[in-house]
């Protein structure tokens, strides 16, 4: 119990408190502690890849074994993951050894990256344009005052974020330049949209502070695998 609960709580308290103090007191020993903890964090982050890969294999392997929902897609995931892992780790086709260059011209990894991964990712992202157009047609309706305002703002941004905005209202006299679509578009992004973003960000920041304090003080213990106090 002591090693499973008390030790992690003590480590969390010391590291959390030291990093908070280092933010406000950038001098010995806190400055050095911040630097060292950052390096430890990066070392731990590398091991997260092993955990992530293991977790992916466990979840999808289990689904294939049980023939769960969409198990055939899991085969594709596992085969794709293992193929990239083996080819990249063993540096097949390229300079041998763990430090060999995966981007070498003969490397299989480079071929798989540029000929499979890049087109697949690009295709997935490109499909968004089609779905956005279809969804906008079906769902973007001026049913209420709020929806109408959103619709007008969307039109202004859509036109203002293209060169068309300059052509459409470029003829306006200087005293009506505030109606120039690119200016309206910038105003929407810099005033109402930004006000909303700030409110969300402040809310998130307060939430993070609250959660961090609970972690540092040992009130929130769910990360240890148990329940919070």
């Amino acid at each position: 119990m002591f090693f499973k609960v008390q030790i992690p709580l003590i480590i969390t308290f010391i590291v959390g408190a030291a990093l908070v103090i280092a933010m406000f007191v950038p001098h010995f020993p806190f400055y050095e502690a911040n630097e060292n903890f950052s390096i430890y964090f990066d070392l731990i982050a590398v091991f997260a890849f092993i955990l992530g890969g293991g977790n992916l294999l466990k979840i999808h392997g289990d689904r294939i074994w049980r023939k769960g929902r969409d198990w055939k897609y899991s085969i594709v995931t596992v085969v794709g993951f293992l193929a990239m892992l083996i080819v990249g780790t063993l540096k097949i086709g390229g300079p041998p050894g763990f430090t060999g260059d995966v981007s070498a011209s003969d490397s299989w990894f480079g071929f798989m990256y540029y000929s499979m991964f890049v087109p697949l990712q690009s295709t997935m992202f490109s499909l968004l344009a089609f779905f956005v157009a279809s969804a906008s047609y079906r769902a973007f309706r001026a049913k209420t005052k709020e929806a109408t305002m959103l619709l007008v703002a969307a039109f202004i941004i859509l036109i203002g974020r293209t060169p068309l905005g300059h052509y459409v209202t470029g003829w306006l006299p200087p005293q009506l330049q505030f109606l120039h679509i690119p200016n309206l578009s910038n105003w929407i992004l810099s005033v109402p949209s930004m006000a909303g973003q700030r409110a969300i960000m402040i809310g998130i920041a307060l939430g993070i502070i609250s959660t961090s304090l609970k972690l540092i003080l040992g009130i929130e213990r769910s990360y240890l695998g148990g329940e919070s106090k």
């Binding site: 982050a45 590398v46 619709l151 859509l158 060169p163 068309l164 690119p182 910038n186 992004l189």
Partner: protein
């Protein structure tokens, strides 16, 4: 095939009005028109002139204000999915930096960043700046894991984290690395990103604590999330393809010798403009159908 149903049945079927047609457009038609909206402008080279907005001009002016030899760090924090938006930004920034004789430090906090650096080397350095020397004028530090933890670590000690460059050569062997200890030695940080970790993390973990100017280039979707940082914490922002095109326009205006290769985002603004128009047209059609249907229902209720 001939319709052999009785005439009576055909006449009892309600006739489709304009509203019915408008409210039930097959999505394959929408997909086809979006395809044409993107493909035709590419085929017919539809190019618009682009004017630079103040938020992008601020980055260009900052770059112009720095003296030759200034150190500029460019972080490639995006994946192939957003290359059409992000790569022109990265290339325009690096082209500008090399034209101004800055020292360019390239790195990535995304594992998918280094191949984008390779593409930039081919498209920009080998093509427009063949005389620039690796390790003296530009360097590729590569990718390291750690997200914002990495940014925090290199703010305090860059060489502690990067002991070698992307090719595994010792970092102290490069001339441009000798007087660099940490991020505070940089005159400007430019993050080209499309998510987490990205521009926000560079502002929070490098720009603010280290008092280093940070500029950003992000996808159009992410840009509104970063406006709260502009202009005090983020000196400028390129948002989406439009932001990239604006920077390219400013660059070509000042350095017309790069016009041939430096206008890829400007050329892509034609398809984007037409695609936006197609989306607007369908939203209008959808609303005409909605209001038409509503007035029809009201009339039916009254009757």
């Amino acid at each position: 095939m001939a319709d052999d149903r009785p005439d009576k049945e055909q006449s009892s079927r309600p006739r489709k009005g304009v509203i019915d047609v408008l409210k039930a457009i097959d999505r394959r038609i929408i997909f086809l028109l979006i395809t044409l909206g993107v493909v035709l402008p590419l085929i017919f080279h539809l190019v618009f002139s682009v004017r630079t907005s103040p938020i992008v001009q601020a980055i260009f002016d900052k770059m112009e204000s720095l003296p030759p030899g200034s150190k500029v760090l460019v972080s490639f924090d995006y994946a192939p999915s957003t290359v059409p938006e992000n790569q022109p930004m990265a290339e325009a920034i690096c082209r500008h930096a090399l034209a101004k004789d800055f020292k360019v430090y390239m790195m990535a906090v995304w594992a998918t960043g280094p191949p984008q650096v390779d593409a930039l080397v081919t498209n920009v350095i080998e093509r427009d700046f063949p005389g620039k020397v690796y390790g003296k004028d530009w360097i590729n530090l590569g990718y390291k894991a750690g997200n914002q933890g990495l940014i925090n670590a290199i703010l305090l000690d860059l060489k502690g984290m990067y002991t070698t460059d992307v090719h595994g050569d010792p970092i102290d062997g490069f001339e441009m690395m000798r007087d660099v200890q940490n991020l505070a030695d940089m005159s400007l940080i430019v993050c080209i990103g499309s998510g987490f970790p990205g521009v926000r993390e560079w502002v929070q973990f490098a720009g603010d604590p280290g008092r280093i100017p940070v500029a950003g280039g992000v996808t159009a979707v992410e840009a509104p999330l970063l406006y709260p940082y502009y202009p005090r914490q983020l000196l400028g922002l390129m948002g989406g393809l439009q932001g990239a095109a604006e920077y390219e326009s400013a660059l070509v205006l000042k350095y017309p010798q790069y016009k041939e290769h430096a206008e890829q985002a400007v050329r892509l603004m034609g398809p984007q403009t037409v695609a936006h128009l197609v989306i607007i047209a369908f939203v209008i059609i959808g609303n005409i159908a909605y209001f038409g249907e509503r007035s029809r229902q009201k009339r039916a209720k009254k009757a």
